[in-house]
């Protein structure tokens, strides 16, 4: 375990990556309205280090909105998100990324015109410092850092199994590998929390199994993984805790097997009629 001290807009915030009483990521009374539509209503839960928390629910339940709020894409209408007990209110997305919140996107959003390696190297951005002047003048400190970035990026590519595709153009990779690349890129930021938004969508059974293994390995690194997924097999396999959203509200929380049998959850997915 290592301890890091981060700065955010000049304010020191320490984020300790050691097991503590304070949960890693907390969502407290989070609500979000878009005009007249309530996307999220008073949602609260906590995610612990090294555990996989799955967030499931029918389409439109507010899962991606939840991720966007946690990542800082837009501010909540009320409630807050806390990282190790410190409120993230007012922090823009890039500041949260530097504090340790990493994410992947439903529609991948790779830098298509850059190679796989370069994509992951961008992931190292928050952990490096060389600025315009130092880089343009090729100062020794910048060159050393560049080598380090390169090394780390290769490491993360190997972690997800894409080591051989380092110089392939991201847009040219097959879809399953693109998803893995996105995860590698997010991992390169050395996050405390990893938000995976439907990483299994569009993957075949073989790829999904590999993804499941990867998620378990990532959690084993001490990272709190939040997983939005529709693939119930994947969720059952990797998630220690499952949270169910419906119409923006949390309707169930608990271990996967329990939640699966919860009548409210069944009703949310299948409608009100009884399943004989």
């Amino acid at each position: 375990m290592n301890t890091d001290t981060h700065r955010c807009h000049g304010e020191p915030i320490s984020v300790h990556l050691c097991p503590s009483v304070v949960p890693c990521l907390e969502v407290v009374g989070l609500s979000k309205q878009f005009g007249g539509i309530t996307a999220l209503k008073d949602v609260s839960f906590a995610a612990e280090d090294g555990r996989v928390t799955a967030i499931i629910g029918p389409n439109g339940a507010g899962k991606t909105t939840l991720f966007n709020l946690a990542a800082g894409v837009y501010p909540p209408s009320s409630g807050e998100v806390r990282l190790r007990g410190h409120s993230l209110a007012g922090l823009p997305a890039h500041a949260r990324a530097r504090l340790g919140i990493a994410r992947t996107f439903q529609n991948v959003l790779l830098f298509g015109q850059m190679t796989a390696l370069e994509n992951v190297m961008v992931g190292r951005h928050g952990r490096s410092r060389a600025g315009f002047i130092a880089s343009a003048l090729r100062l020794p400190s910048a060159r050393r850092e560049e080598e380090e970035i390169h090394l780390q990026a290769v490491r993360y590519l190997n972690l997800v199994g894409l080591g051989s595709r380092a110089d392939a153009l991201a847009a040219a990779l097959p879809f399953g590998q693109q998803r893995l690349l996105a995860i590698a890129r997010a991992l390169a930021t050395e996050p405390t929390v990893l938000l995976l938004d439907e990483p299994g969508a569009g993957l075949n059974a073989f790829e999904t199994a590999a993804l499941g293994e990867l998620i378990v390995r990532v959690a084993g690194m001490g990272i709190a993984v939040l997983l939005v997924e529709h693939d119930m097999n994947l969720v059952m396999r990797v998630a220690e805790k499952v949270i169910v959203l419906d119409y923006g509200e949390k309707i169930a929380e608990g271990p996967a097997a329990e939640v699966q049998k919860d009548p409210r959850v069944i009703a949310a997915y299948l409608g009100e009629e009884e399943v004989p």
Partner: protein
């Protein structure tokens, strides 16, 4: 099966290598040799090459802004003119040393770019284009109207040449080496920048802003930084221009020059630093050639822009390379 993977990987690897074309050792050495020897061709070519060098400096800055950060600036001539006029006004009206004036111009343009950058880049697409266009025109109007400083449409004569310890850059030959030394410095600076952490960050911003933010990149700050950098390049070029021609007037710094800059960047390839030389050379030569047919040069530039945007939006150099790639591809595939 493994063989196919290896071949695919190798092709992709080669393709990625070719993304920064013509930067092997010997083309560079050849280029430098050519540059050193060029004045032997006579004063006409020397003076033309000076202008090309100056234009390249501005074009490279715009390349970084448009090609790498993916932002547009339709008023970049304004910074070029601000550099030129700052140098002119400070040296002629206030007796300031030319080097200090050059520095003042660069700092001034950096400050203006910084101040206008955040608000301007909070805009998107056509609004951004419009704002930069308006900026260019406002500055131009100021050049024309603030006659006490700029001399208005008549211009400002009598600008002293740059000098170092008594050695004055007052002949075409001397200015030529000065300008190209500066130009190569700017090119080298930019080349290093592009292949480094900030360069990747810029390309990430261009690729997808939301993803870039999720990786810790302050997108807005980066856009402003590259805007400031491109403004500084333009200002330096403008100052060199002023001390070379020893006379500035508003006329060369209007919308048409911004369009020519756009054409340079478009021809050279939006995302190619070295393409900046190619673009600047092409456009400047074309301009010189068409200068005699004064109305039609405008038409030709417009048509070139249209043609490039329709058929080769990645720029002429990339188009040529792609053609070569495609032919190579079919040969390997057999």
């Amino acid at each position: 099966m493994l063989g196919v993977v290896r071949r695919n990987g190798l092709r992709a690897y080669n393709r990625s290598r070719r993304r920064f074309p013509a930067t092997g050792r010997w083309p560079l050495a050849l280029g430098i040799a050519l540059l050193l020897a060029l004045p032997l061709a006579g004063t006409y070519y020397t003076s033309l090459a000076i202008v090309i060098g100056i234009h390249t400096m501005v074009a490279v800055g715009l390349c970084l802004l448009m090609g790498y950060a993916g932002q547009v600036s339709l008023g970049h001539a304004a910074f070029y003119g601000l550099g030129a006029f700052t140098s002119g006004i400070l040296t002629v009206r206030f007796g300031v040393s030319p080097w200090l004036a050059l520095l003042a111009g660069a700092v001034g343009c950096a400050a203006i770019a910084y101040a206008t950058g955040y608000p301007i880049f909070s805009l998107r697409g056509p609004y951004l284009a419009l704002a930069t266009l308006a900026f260019g025109i406002i500055v131009y109007v100021l050049f024309v109207e603030v006659k006490e400083l700029t001399g208005g449409p008549q211009g400002l004569p009598g600008i002293p040449p740059l000098a170092v310890a008594g050695f004055a850059f007052d002949s075409d030959l001397k200015v030529y080496y000065l300008v190209w030394a500066a130009c190569l410095a700017v090119l080298g600076f930019s080349h290093n920048l592009v292949r480094s952490r900030p360069g990747r960050a810029l390309r990430a911003v261009h690729g997808n802003e939301e993803a870039a933010r999720s990786l810790g990149i302050d997108v807005d700050a980066y856009k402003v930084k590259v805007f400031v950098l491109s403004a500084v390049y333009a200002s330096l070029a403008g100052s060199l221009y002023a001390h070379y021609v020893t006379f500035v007037s508003p006329q060369p710094f209007g919308f048409m020059f911004s369009v020519k800059l756009l054409t340079m960047v478009a021809v050279g390839g939006l995302a190619s630093v070295w393409g900046g030389i190619f673009g600047a050379t092409t456009v400047t030569l074309l301009s010189a050639f068409l200068g005699s047919f004064s109305d039609l040069d405008v038409v030709v530039f417009g048509l070139i822009l249209i043609a490039i945007m329709v058929y080769m939006p990645q720029g002429v150099t990339r188009w040529l390379l792609d053609v070569r790639d495609r032919r190579g591809w079919t040969r390997n595939h057999r």
